[in-house]
């Protein structure tokens, strides 16, 4: 089966500092893959490299089998990206923000589709027509997630999508991610949330100082990865 996202011996340098070293992984269609690691481990860098914003010094990244360096726009078109600390336009309301970005992506959407997506992230209906500078952090994050869903791209790169969400919203988000994967979307998820990652991911890669230091697969027949094992490994490196 063709891998939707492929990193091969990926090394990236930012401001003269090597931030990714020899990172390799492959994600198949319909898989949820979580990238776990402490601050500055290189998680966001990995996503930006898949989007063609950073050029590897060695190794390569491929999206849908195509070499990103030579097909940047094809890669971007196949990907719905949710950046960390995503800020939408404060002077626009949720609908206007969604419409702006979706129009940028060339996606046609009607009001009903927007409402359906906002329903799925459980954003209060009363807030939707209000300018987004009046939103709480979690509400803003919900709109950003709705945007990623609405893109209808085959691949989702989500950078800390649950940051700012309350526990109920996190549960709903995790369910949403599973639904999307079952519908055939491929998801690479960057997170600090060990518990959540164990529940939604088919595989967790542990990134530490730019290197992959551990991988955990969901055992066949099980509904989640062993939280204890992942937590133990995470804590070991976090303390190091």
């Amino acid at each position: 089966m063709m891998s939707m996202l492929l990193a091969q011996a990926l090394s990236v340098v930012r401001s003269g500092q090597q931030v990714l070293k020899d990172v390799s992984f492959s994600i198949a269609q319909g898989e949820v893959h979580a990238l776990l690691g402490g601050n500055g481990a290189g998680k966001s860098t990995t996503l930006l490299t898949f989007l063609g914003f950073l050029e590897p010094v060695s190794g390569s990244v491929h999206v849908q089998g195509r070499y990103v360096s030579e097909n940047v726009s094809a890669a971007r078109q196949a990907i719905a990206y949710l950046p960390e600390a995503a800020t939408l336009y404060g002077h626009l309301n949720a609908y206007e923000n969604l419409r702006y970005f979706l129009s940028l992506a060339g996606t046609d959407t009607n009001r009903r589709a927007l409402d359906e997506a906002l329903d799925r992230v459980a954003l209060q209906a009363v807030a939707r027509g209000m300018r987004m500078h009046t939103y709480s952090k979690g509400m803003r994050q919900k709109v950003a997630i709705a945007m990623a869903i609405l893109r209808e791209a085959p691949i989702l790169l989500l950078d800390e999508p649950t940051s700012g969400l309350d526990p109920v919203a996190i549960d709903e988000f995790n369910r949403l991610v599973r639904d999307l994967a079952e519908a055939g979307r491929t998801i690479l998820l960057v997170t600090h949330d060990v518990y959540g990652a164990c529940h939604v991911a088919d595989r967790i890669d542990l990134l530490h100082k730019g290197e992959l230091v551990g991988a955990f697969d969901r055992p066949p027949g099980m509904d989640r990865i062993d939280t204890e094992a992942v937590h133990g490994a995470f804590a070991k490196y976090a303390g190091a």
């Binding site: 726009s73 800020t87 336009y89």
Partner: protein
């Protein structure tokens, strides 16, 4: 197309951008209005003066029976009518005289008298369309464009927007085009709205609009260049305002200073004084001191140079002309100096696009140095025609008659 509509909507929600565009529109409208008002005032003044000039001459013509007195007491208005586009770039109409009251006496003093009378003109600096378009518009464009990308980077949206747009083209270009286009419209629409009803031709307005668009395009290029460095908004703004200060203020000032240093210019007031001294001194000199240099210039009157009385009009007019002859080198140096300065300033203006655009608009408006010198030449030509008319009548001591007065040349302004 959908992209353009999207960005128009986006621009419409951008309050800061709307504010800058609103200011541009206001400034352009005001400058056009003030320019039109100034030109209307100049025209009204001219019409009034032309009327007074005619009636006065009729009175004078009826009063005197002697060509010497007729020539002495008859003033002639000369003027340079503003073009229908002069409102947009007042240029030399602000600093150089565009009307004179001359008579058949020594001319140089009469030409430069106006210079001495209006020394404060140049200090004020008129708020005309050229000023708005060449000096203020680049500043507004800088405010519109300086944070196009850097603000998105600061907000963490830059990669998000770029990744979302993918191959469909980033929003940056569309946003820049819209802002540049909107600013150009804010300038050009008032220009046309003011110019067309005033009679400025469409080709004139197209040419002026082209100058405005090219100049704005230059500043867009500067903004795009600075944008490439990926600096933050405040750094971009500082760099761009610095570039504006350099190109719109410092370089033009440096050009002015170096042109003045490189091309010396005699004082217009000196010409006036020297000529007046020459004329005043002539009273006390032997008549031959006047008539000899006069005949050198006018051999056709060599047989009429005998002055038997202590005062004769032909001697009086001869020493007026000799007064002009005395300052001829000074006057020529003054004119050539102004041409030389203008030519050098024109070449150096390539160092400052705002100065270049200003010169282009003044050339279109007919308010540049060339137009001013052309007017001065018309005054000289007319004055020469007056002398040619009076000399035979004075020297041959002809009788004043209505028929003869009817042959006196009239001044015609350019285009009239």
């Amino acid at each position: 197309m959908t992209g353009l509509i999207r960005e128009i909507r986006f621009l419409a929600s951008d309050r800061a951008a709307l504010l800058w565009l609103g200011i541009a529109l206001l400034v352009a409208c005001m400058s056009v209005f003030l320019g039109l008002r100034e030109i209307a005032a100049q025209r009204a003044e001219l019409n009034e003066l032309i009327e007074i000039d005619r009636t006065e001459r009729e009175v004078v013509d009826a009063l005197y029976q002697d060509w010497g007195e007729v020539a002495y007491y008859t003033f002639h208005l000369t003027w340079d009518s503003p073009s229908d586009f002069a409102f947009a770039a007042l240029g030399q109409r602000d600093t150089s005289p565009w009307k004179h009251h001359i008579r058949a006496l020594a001319l140089e003093g009469q030409i430069y008298e106006t210079d001495a009378e209006n020394p404060d003109f140049a200090l004020i600096g008129r708020f005309d369309f050229a000023f708005a378009a060449n000096l203020l518009a680049p500043l507004l464009l800088i405010l519109l464009l300086h944070d196009l990308r850097s603000a998105e980077r600061t907000a963490g949206r830059y990669e998000w927007l770029s990744a979302t747009a993918a191959s469909r083209g980033s929003p940056w270009f569309a946003r820049a085009v819209l802002r540049v286009g909107a600013l150009a419209l804010c300038l050009i629409v008032p220009l046309w709205a003011g110019g067309l009803p005033g009679g400025a031709g469409a080709s004139t307005l197209v040419a002026a609009s082209l100058v405005v668009v090219l100049h704005i395009a230059f500043w867009w290029g500067v903004c795009a260049l600075v944008d490439r460095f990926g600096w933050s908004s405040p750094v971009n703004l500082t760099a761009l305002v610095g570039a504006w200060l350099a190109l719109a203020v410092i370089v033009p000032a440096a050009i002015r200073i170096s042109v003045e240093a490189a091309v010396p210019l005699p004082d217009g007031g000196d010409i006036l004084l020297t000529q007046r001294e020459a004329v005043n001194d002539a009273w006390d000199l032997p008549k031959s001191a006047t008539m000899d240099p006069f005949v050198e210039r006018h051999p056709e009157w060599a047989d009429y140079t005998e002055i038997s009385q202590s005062f004769e009009w032909k001697w009086y007019y001869a020493f007026q002309q000799v007064g002009d002859q005395t300052v001829e080198p000074l006057s020529r140096a003054y004119r050539e100096g102004r041409i030389g300065r203008d030519r050098l300033a024109g070449r150096l203006a390539w160092l400052s696009p705002p100065a270049l655009a200003e010169r282009a608009l003044q050339a279109i408006a007919g308010t540049n140095m060339a137009a001013s010198l052309a007017y001065e030449q018309r005054v000289r030509d007319y004055h020469a025609a007056l002398r040619t008319y009076y000399y035979p009548r004075l020297f041959r001591d002809e009788a004043v008659s209505d028929a003869s007065i009817g042959q006196r040349p009239e001044f015609h302004a350019m285009g009239d």
